[in-house]
């Protein structure tokens, strides 16, 4: 990732956005997470051009976020679907945090298309900051610290 500025090389946000920071990429991950695993179904949901979707899927496979899995419906030829890898599963907090922000700050009156719940109770869960003991902390309880790096000029 030589194209990142010195500061950005130290930043996991920058490195993540370098590979995920394009609208379609995370929406493909969203759809696969929702169980929409086949090319045609993803394409129809996103309204994306086939060549662009093929490009994003290949990129996500290369990145280790999705993997291809063969399936065959009776009487049809073998096809491939896409499933999340463990690294893909771990994008869940990113997706759900984006969903919550959009529902709160960009409302459009429509019902959300999915929700994430506690599997044992069916109750909704949300994304938040948690301390080492597993207790949620509000935004007003946090402090952000910059960590100086010797190879980066202070700004």
């Amino acid at each position: 990732m030589k194209q990142l500025s010195p500061v950005n090389q130290h930043c996991g946000i920058a490195r993540s956005l370098e590979v995920l920071g394009e609208r379609w990429t995370l929406l493909v991950v969203r759809d696969v997470r929702l169980g929409v695993t086949r090319f045609r179904d993803i394409r129809e949901r996103l309204g994306i051009a086939p060549d662009m979707l093929a490009d994003r899927l290949a990129k996500l496979v290369d990145l280790g976020v999705l993997e291809r899995r063969g399936y065959r419906e009776e009487g049809a030829r073998a096809r491939e679907e896409y499933v999340l890898t463990p690294a893909g599963e771990e994008l869940a907090p990113v997706l759900v945090a984006l969903q919550a922000w959009g529902d709160r700050h960009l409302p459009n009156g429509l019902t959300p298309g999915s929700r994430t719940v506690d599997a044992s109770t069916g109750e909704p869960v949300h994304v938040g900051f948690v301390d080492a003991a597993g207790q949620e902390l509000g935004l007003d309880r946090l402090r952000v610290e910059r960590v100086p790096a010797e190879d980066v000029p202070a700004a």
Copy 2:
């Protein structure tokens, strides 16, 4: 947001990425969150062209994520800096979830440039899923449910 497909209109992720899903946009929010509030300092950290940074800052102000605030250093003319609005503060879980994912799945051997801590103890915090009682739930405790909408074709 007429350009979104019917499925995506229901999706807070899609609406958020429509306005934030471009690499520089979230990196600008990151920098302001870290206290880098002045145009020249942000530009130097990001290595971004001035006209592109001006465009992203204007967009974030229009969106209600940043606001401009005047300041004047002794003997200098009045200038503007940028601060987070409450909606901007609420992007913290998105940013820290992206940071954690990048540090874990896109490591490059460099130290992270910032960390988010419990302001009262200085101990690190992380982003996770939390139930209504404020208790963290692991990814293996979750279920994702699709919510059918009458105006969207099932895929």
